[in-house]
């Protein structure tokens, strides 16, 4: 038995007994029972956005944390996913399950092709070009989506209805005293899709390809010397993550029943995703859940905080102005976390425990 196999077998044995495994089970149970426990739509909305953004951030982490290349246009694929659902359901009015599936399929294929093309011509020279070119393409898509009024509905976006049991006003009837609505059906659908995506990504980063990617991240010249064509592996990782992002974008569109350039293609979403990755920790797929949870929960509570500040300090315009600009504090937080916790929440906690174990 070689050292790698030995390591794997010990890891496999400990898999179902580690505390983090129980934490994951508890988290999953929480997500499953949320619609049954909380009656208010606001809570459900926040929890679902945490789920969707966890998957999106995890897919970004596959590029950033596991492959070590920086993309600044990852939200482009998220936008493609939501726009295809929006155009099929809203603009073309093809409201049926098969067309919903078709829109997802087309979005995945287009995202894959686009990311391969972008990767092929910008990853060739320097990885830093990739960051700039992807940013340029995302901005291009953003302007395109607000200009092509006949297809995308311009700045107003498209709002649409969903087919059958996914529709907002659909009612399945009462069961055990709980009303099952279309909202709940789409909640569970999105939860299942996100869990599948998450498992896919876990499988991907622990596969032989994923190991090669991590070796590229840690020491690119050495992986080249070992005979890997690193550039092709980077393209593979980026297109895989893009396809996942397209699916999460479609899920997001299903949940909010609306797409617009600001809600699904904006640079500010990219900044959010970056912040979530930083908070959660790079190179830890599970960290994305905590990152997304942190940001979404803060977002949900900020308006209440704002009202509180306005009531404490009435008539001070600077105070209200300062409290309105919560993005300002996120920016500060961003810088502080990069300085003091460069490994994020999960990374720092993991380091803490491993140090404890060694002592």
């Amino acid at each position: 038995m070689n050292p790698v196999q030995q390591f794997r077998s010990t890891e496999k044995k400990a898999r179902f007994r580690s505390p983090s495994f129980f934490l994951r089970i508890i988290l999953l149970a929480f997500f499953i029972f949320t619609p049954l426990l909380f009656r208010s739509f606001e809570v459900l909305d926040v929890v679902l956005k945490i789920i969707i953004f966890s998957a999106l951030v995890a897919s970004y982490d596959v590029i950033l944390g596991y492959t070590g290349i920086v993309s600044l246009g990852h939200v482009l694929y998220f936008g493609i996913g939501s726009y295809f659902v929006g155009i099929f359901m809203g603009k073309l009015g093809w409201i049926s399950y098969s067309h919903l599936a078709l829109s997802f399929l087309i979005a995945i294929v287009i995202s894959g092709i686009l990311s391969v093309l972008i990767g092929l011509f910008s990853l060739r020279i320097r990885a830093i070009f990739f960051a700039m070119v992807t940013l340029a393409f995302m901005e291009f898509a953003f302007i395109l989506s607000s200009q092509l009024r006949s297809i995308t509905g311009g700045d107003d976006g498209i709002s649409f209805k969903l087919p059958g049991i996914l529709a907002v006003d659909y009612n399945l009837g009462r069961f055990l005293g709980i009303e099952f609505t279309g909202r709940m059906v789409s909640y569970y659908l999105i939860l299942i899709v996100s869990v599948i995506l998450f498992l896919l990504m876990l499988r991907f980063v622990h596969s032989p390809v994923g190991r090669v990617l991590q070796s590229i991240r840690d020491n690119e010249p050495r992986s080249i010397a070992l005979g890997y064509r690193t550039y092709l592996f980077q393209v593979i990782a980026s297109s895989f993550a893009s396809c996942i992002a397209a699916v999460t974008g479609g899920c997001y569109a299903i949940w909010v029943c609306y797409v617009s350039p600001d809600s699904s293609l904006n640079v500010s979403i990219m900044v959010d995703v970056l912040l979530m990755v930083i908070v959660g920790g790079m190179g830890t797929l599970y960290g994305s859940i905590y990152g997304a949870a942190f940001l979404m929960i803060t977002r949900a509570f900020l308006p209440k905080l704002q009202v509180l500040i306005a009531s404490i300090l009435p008539g001070v315009p600077m105070a209200t102005r300062l409290s309105e600009r919560w993005l300002f504090y996120f920016g500060l937080l961003f810088i502080i976390i990069v300085y003091f916790f460069p490994k994020g929440i999960v990374g720092t906690v993991q380091e803490f425990f491993s140090r404890k174990k060694n002592n």
């Binding site: 950033l64 070590g68 920086v70 600044l72 011509f121 910008s122 060739r124 020279i125 990885a127 830093i128 070009f129 960051a131 700039m132 070119v133 940013l135 340029a136 393409f137 901005e139 291009f140 302007i143 395109l144 200009q147 092509l148 640079v267 900044v271 970056l274 930083i278 102005r321 300062l322 600009r325 993005l327 300002f328 996120f330 920016g331 500060l332 961003f334 810088i335 990069v338 300085y339 460069p342």
Partner: protein
């Protein structure tokens, strides 16, 4: 004969491409479009050159550059309004006092944003030299903070940028309409290009900075504090962004807090096309983007942005390091 042809062929092709719109546009409109294209190119050059300078010399991908640009526009706006209140030069008929107040506002914007740039470099960017990943994170954070600071100080709404009286309108030269401000922008941009180029190429300061890129340890051994020069380059880059911001705001006659994000994409494309760290590359790239954008915007308005992206894709596939890769 054959060698001569090979030497001149690329130049003929470039000239041919830029004369080809003449087939579709009447000559008078063509000249008007060319002038506004050159002006747009020169304004883009100011933004892109700062970005490119910082990347080329410090190897820092400064995503906060757009925010510095916006700061420049807002400080220029405030300085212009204040000085106009004191002196009334902006509204007078004399072209000299108009130009004086305009240049003063630009200088104030440049100086203040240079100070802001120094603070940013010292506090935020210095600890992450050498790591592109953390630079990107930190500068995104800095961008957010600076943009939000603008919203806190000046408020989140659009403002109308005041324009000196004699900059408005146009001249009529042989039936060709030539707007005044674009010409001024072209002249200022060209002067700044010459100034930076001369400083980098002909002075001792420029030699030290260029040597610092090649071999920082050696320059330090020679007794120069390399980090001080880096701070200086960052300050110059920020000042260029600010001057670009002020001039751009006068060009489009309005300012809003998110304007930096829109222009920085163009600057990014220009910097990549020209070759990162190259001044001449920035000028050529900016003029290419400005001219092609204006021609296409006249012919097919919706495809104007597409042509810029197409340019980027074509040039990156032919010359992956940009047009002038050696940092000239």
């Amino acid at each position: 004969m054959d060698d001569q042809f090979k030497k001149w062929a690329p130049k003929f092709i470039v000239v041919g491409i830029f004369l080809s719109p003449l087939l579709l546009i009447s000559p008078k409109t063509y000249i008007t479009l060319t002038i506004s294209g050159l002006a747009m190119g020169m304004l883009l050059f100011l933004v892109a050159s700062g970005f490119s300078l910082i990347f080329g010399f410090l190897s820092v991908l400064n995503l906060a550059h757009g925010a510095l640009f916006t700061w420049g526009a807002y400080i220029g706006f405030s300085a212009f309004t204040l000085m106009n209140k004191w002196t009334g030069w902006g509204g007078s008929d004399s072209i000299f006092s108009n130009i004086a107040i305009f240049l003063l506002a630009l200088i104030v914007a440049g100086l203040l944003v240079a100070i802001l740039g120094i603070i940013t470099e010292r506090l935020v960017i210095r600890p992450v030299y050498g790591s592109h990943l953390f630079q990107i994170f930190i500068t995104v954070g800095a961008m957010t903070v600076m943009e939000e600071l603008i919203r806190i100080v000046w408020g989140p709404n659009d403002e109308v940028m005041p324009v000196p009286l004699s900059f408005m309108g146009s001249w009529d030269l042989f039936d060709v309409v030539v707007s005044k401000y674009p010409l001024i922008a072209i002249i200022i941009g060209f002067i700044l290009y010459l100034a930076i180029f001369t400083i980098l190429k002909k002075t001792k300061l420029g030699t030290i900075v260029r040597a610092g890129v090649e071999n920082p340890e050696m320059v330090q051994v020679m007794g120069h504090n390399i980090y001080r020069y880096f701070t200086g380059v960052f300050a110059v880059g920020s000042a260029l962004a600010a001057i670009g911001g002020g001039m751009w705001a006068t060009f489009v006659k309005s300012i809003h807090p998110a304007m930096g994000g829109e222009v920085i994409i163009f600057a990014l494309i220009v910097a990549i096309i020209g070759g990162l760290g190259s001044m001449t590359g920035s000028v050529v790239g900016a003029l290419l983007v400005g001219l092609s954008y204006n021609y296409v915007a006249y012919l097919v308005p919706k495809a104007a942005l597409g042509i810029t992206m197409l340019l980027l894709v074509i040039i990156l596939s032919i010359r992956p390091t940009g047009l002038f890769p050696e940092g000239t």
